[in-house]
Symmetry: C2
Subunit: 148 residues, 2 copies
DNA sequence: CCGCATCCCCAACGATACTG
DNA sequence: CAGTATCGTTGGGGATGCGG
């Protein structure tokens, strides 16, 4: 058992990885941030406080479950505040904390990057797809569907 | 059918959402970026070109499958370049493109943010957990496991 | 050494129904 | 209106084995 296959080393690495991540808050946070719904919620709230149902409508394809779940975790992390107004139909508002606002600035930067460079990415994709198909059949140069 | 329940509206919204996303490149890209492995790979490559196996070791808990998959999509998007050296054991190097480098700058910013604010987040979590447990049983204050 | 194909599992998500 | 609990599905992703 002195020799270790690459697979075994990977398995080992994974165990260490798990343990490592437990104690590595940065990665926890990185994980949290690279969640699809988190970025959408934070972006939506960047414009100002919103009610729960407003968020549900604003974000469109989100289920109530995920919305609540996401908001809960963000609240727990001190990214948003949750304010309950006990009127006859209960009203709940969510708002970015200063901490959340500083984060939203970064996410906005990423969004801006995406908008700025989307054309380059599209071109790269077309080139990649074209060369990939020409690899199997060098004759026909297929034109990838161009972006809108 | 004039009246629509919230659930029905959600289902509708989801259809529109799908169609909408097809034509919205920004969201495609946002999706791609908010992938766990993507951020790790791009961060790793920010330090300079690396071989496939180096990346595998550097990133630790990644499987060969996900590493390849991630690198492929990044290559397709023009974020990294893939250079094959046909030596006896094949050697493959990956490197950030200028486009990828500009993206990595943002991801590094996010990472810096995480490192800078992790303590605030931790405090917020402890506060949240403490108040949550005191809500059900005001007497026993359970101490949340503190971070390292 | 690189990476693709296959199988398989589980946790994440959506839908639904029910409380305050 | 806001949130919880439960169940069913699905696809992400890990393990393995082969091919270049």
């Amino acid at each position: 058992m002195a020799t270790m296959t690459a697979a075994e080393r990977r398995a080992r690495a994974r165990e260490e990885y798990d343990a490592f991540l437990k104690g590595c808050p940065t990665n926890q946070l990185l994980d949290r941030i690279s969640d699809k719904w988190v970025s959408l919620v934070v972006s939506a709230l960047a414009a100002g406080p919103m009610r729960y149902s407003d968020l549900g409508r604003r974000i469109a394809g989100v289920s109530a479950k995920m919305l609540t779940q996401t908001l809960r975790s963000l609240e727990r992390d001190g990214i948003v505040t949750r304010t309950v107004t006990p009127s006859v139909p209960v009203r709940v508002d969510y708002e970015l904390t200063p901490l959340g606002a500083s984060l939203s600035a970064l996410l906005v930067a990423v969004k801006d990057w995406a908008e700025l460079h989307i054309s380059e990415v599209d071109e790269a994709r077309e080139r990649y797809d074209a060369s990939a198909s020409s690899a199997s059949s060098a004759s026909s140069a297929s034109s990838a569907s161009s972006a809108s």
